[in-house]
């Protein structure tokens, strides 16, 4: 069974909320990503999403954009991201998801990319700018290799589309909690609530994980009440980018532990 699917169904059985953490591969130091991921797993992550840097990340706010630019300057490519997955997989069995934009993946080749995912031990993929209508080939290749093809839904997604996307998605359904790009914002939980309640009604096949803008233990706890788990990216990445801060990993770890505690309380 796919590690991601197995982990999420185990959590559901235990009535625990999933914590998925996004980090940009190769940020802020290329060599730090693998030990960072191991640290995050130890601190309580259930799923790790590794971001493949792209020059023009239109779904991302300033924090992830900047991390992408740094990662690209660090020479991170899709190949090197896959290599990191391989190194992480040699050290632990955490479910790993690769998240990126269509162009680097298409340039690599869709089938070749999913072959490589299988080979290095990635469990799922998210392509931020590949909506359902353009995804036939992608889903076919992913299904054939038992890689989860995770789709996103947004507050603007209609009820009918929620159901269509739920049927197409595997692994989980990524709920964009509020209309907008990635990154923290005020009054998040209240805005997210109504969408998650609506999504819950229409989503039957997949666990619902909510992301975009969740930045504090309080956000995490409140949002998680309406879904199966949460995804944190920008707030974690901000901790990793503090210049000359030798306690980066410890601070990231403390942050994740605080989120974990809030989710489990």
């Amino acid at each position: 069974m796919n590690r991601l699917v197995a982990r999420l169904s185990a959590l559901r059985a235990e009535r625990r909320k999933a914590l998925s953490l996004f980090v940009t591969a190769g940020y802020s130091i290329a060599e730090e990503t693998v030990p960072l991921v191991i640290e995050l797993v130890t601190s309580g992550a259930d799923v790790i999403e590794l971001g493949i840097p792209f020059s023009d990340p239109i779904a991302d706010g300033p924090t992830i954009q900047a991390s992408s630019e740094v990662a690209l300057r660090n020479g991170i490519t899709l190949e090197r991201t896959l290599e990191m997955v391989k190194q992480i997989r040699e050290r632990c069995d955490i479910p790993l998801v690769l998240m990126g934009y269509a162009n680097p993946i298409f340039k690599f080749g869709l089938a070749e990319f999913l072959d490589a995912c299988k080979h290095v031990g990635a469990d799922g993929t998210i392509i931020a700018d590949l909506p359902l209508e353009e995804s036939d080939e992608y889903r076919m290749h992913a299904t054939k290799r038992d890689i989860a093809s995770i789709f996103l839904v947004a507050p603007t997604t209609t009820d009918e589309r929620l159901e269509q996307i739920d049927r197409a998605s595997t692994g989980f359904l990524y709920c964009i909690s509020v209309t907008g790009v990635t990154g923290g914002r005020k009054a998040l939980a209240a805005q997210a609530e109504s969408f998650l309640i609506r999504a819950r009604k229409h989503v039957k096949s997949n666990p619902l994980l909510a992301g975009f803008g969740i930045a504090t233990p309080n956000d995490a706890r409140r949002v998680a009440m309406h879904c199966d788990g949460i995804i944190i990216g920008s707030a974690l990445i901000e901790l990793l980018g503090l210049p000359h801060n030798s306690h980066r990993l410890e601070q990231a770890s403390a942050f994740v532990r605080a989120i974990r505690t809030a989710l489990d309380s």
């Binding site: 990340p57 680097p104 340039k107 700018d129 359902l132 996103l152 947004a154 209309t179």
Partner: protein
């Protein structure tokens, strides 16, 4: 070849393998709404009547088709005509599209307009029509472009638009488009995004093409009246490709040769150019699959052109299709060739062209020696050059030939 243009794009917005809709899910419902609204107004006589009236009385259409006698004599072959889009209100063809899209925005009940701009012509055209219709307007512009097109920045602000400086990436049109897309993702419910070229996710390449195709329709009628026949060649510059597709579209099924001129910057053999169709490969940028400038890892490369309006590493998907089909020939000219052509045009015809349009004019030095006395050439003079005075003066001051030229 017959009817090939009529059927495209298909239901999913594809021109052959190109085009489509590669954007975050948040925008998909808005694009579907836009598609529905557009197909409703396409055959709505009151919408079309209002559009025609604005194009006539506000934009100043039809624009003249000017026989350039001096330039024709200079080359001694063929007959050169210019389609005078530079005489449109606000100084370029861009307003043909902004009038149409902002009428659509009103139809959809949107109160806020956003746009991206490179040369500033699309920004000015958007700010102008937004002012006339009483809508709020924000324009994203790279800080490098704000410097080289400072006059247009002042115009947009005067028109009441907010000009939002973009400092990410290359600080030019590509990054301005990224920021406009992020704004739209965030404010999609109340905001209408007026895309300025035949790029972006479906249905934009189709909508912008349709609104710009008036250029070719007028040219056809004017040509029949003047010469009693179609031209032999159409020449237009290509950045994203809106003025060129506007001129070409109505002629696609006719026996007319078409040439799209890209910006070769410092040369296509260098890494400082914007010749996407000449030197790029297919990929995904700003929501559609088309030729792009990219590296082996699929990262988008920075473009370069002296012309801010052509300084873009992508191109409209329909152009990619027309290139692969061999229907349009795409060529490129350098910064220096464009500057020289613009100067010559100014000196012998008394018309100062935009740097973008100067690229189309510059190709005549290659085309005219190959053409015969009987050949008729129509060049799209897409915009006027006042906005470029600073950039042109600076370029000539830096160039060794400055004394000879100025």
């Amino acid at each position: 070849m017959k009817r090939m243009a009529e059927a495209l794009p298909d239901q999913k917005g594809h021109f052959g393998t190109y085009g489509g809709r590669f954007v975050p899910e948040t925008l998909i419902p808005a694009l579907q709404d836009l598609e529905r609204a557009y197909s409703a107004v396409k055959n709505d006589s009151s919408f079309q009547k209002e559009l025609s009236m604005l194009l006539k009385d506000y934009v100043g259409r039809p624009t003249p088709l000017y026989f350039a006698k001096q330039l024709t004599n200079h080359y001694g072959e063929g007959k050169i005509y210019f389609k005078r889009e530079d005489l449109c209100h606000t100084g370029a063809h861009k307003i043909n599209n902004t009038v149409g899209q902002i009428l659509l925005a009103r139809q959809l009940g949107k109160q806020r307009i956003i746009a991206e701009t490179g040369a500033g012509q699309h920004g000015v055209a958007t700010a102008t029509v937004a002012a006339m219709m009483g809508l709020r307007c924000a324009v994203y512009m790279g800080t490098e472009d704000m410097t080289r097109q400072e006059i247009n920045v002042a115009r947009m602000r005067l028109l009441g638009a907010e000009v939002i400086p973009v400092t990410s990436g290359t600080k030019t049109l590509k990054d301005a488009t990224n920021e406009a897309l992020r704004d739209w993702v965030t404010n999609v419910r109340e905001t209408f995004y007026v895309i300025g070229s035949v790029v972006g996710p479906h249905p934009y390449p189709m909508i912008v093409r349709d609104f710009q195709s008036i250029i070719g329709r007028e040219t056809k009628a004017q040509m029949m009246q003047r010469e009693g026949r179609f031209p032999d060649y159409l020449v237009a510059c290509v950045g994203g490709g809106s003025n060129s597709i506007g001129l070409f579209y109505d002629f696609l099924e006719d026996d007319v040769k078409m040439i799209g001129v890209e910006a070769a910057g410092l040369g296509v053999e260098t890494s400082y150019h914007a010749a996407t169709l000449t030197a790029g490969t297919p990929g995904i940028l700003h929501g559609s699959y088309s030729y792009v400038l990219q590296d082996n890892a699929g990262q988008i490369l920075p473009a370069h052109s002296i012309s801010a309006g052509l300084d873009y590493p992508g191109v409209g998907p329909e152009h990619s299709y027309l290139k692969d089909r061999g229907r349009v020939t795409y060529v490129s000219v350098t910064d220096d060739e464009a500057l020289e052509a613009g100067l010559m045009m100014t000196r012998i015809e008394g018309i100062l062209p935009a740097l973008e349009s100067s690229h189309a004019i510059a190709y005549l030095r290659y085309l005219m020696p190959k053409s015969s006395v009987k050949d008729i050439i129509v060049v799209n003079l897409s915009g006027r050059g006042e906005k470029d005075l600073t950039a042109i003066t600076k370029a000539f001051n830096q160039s060794r030939t400055s004394e000879r030229l100025l």
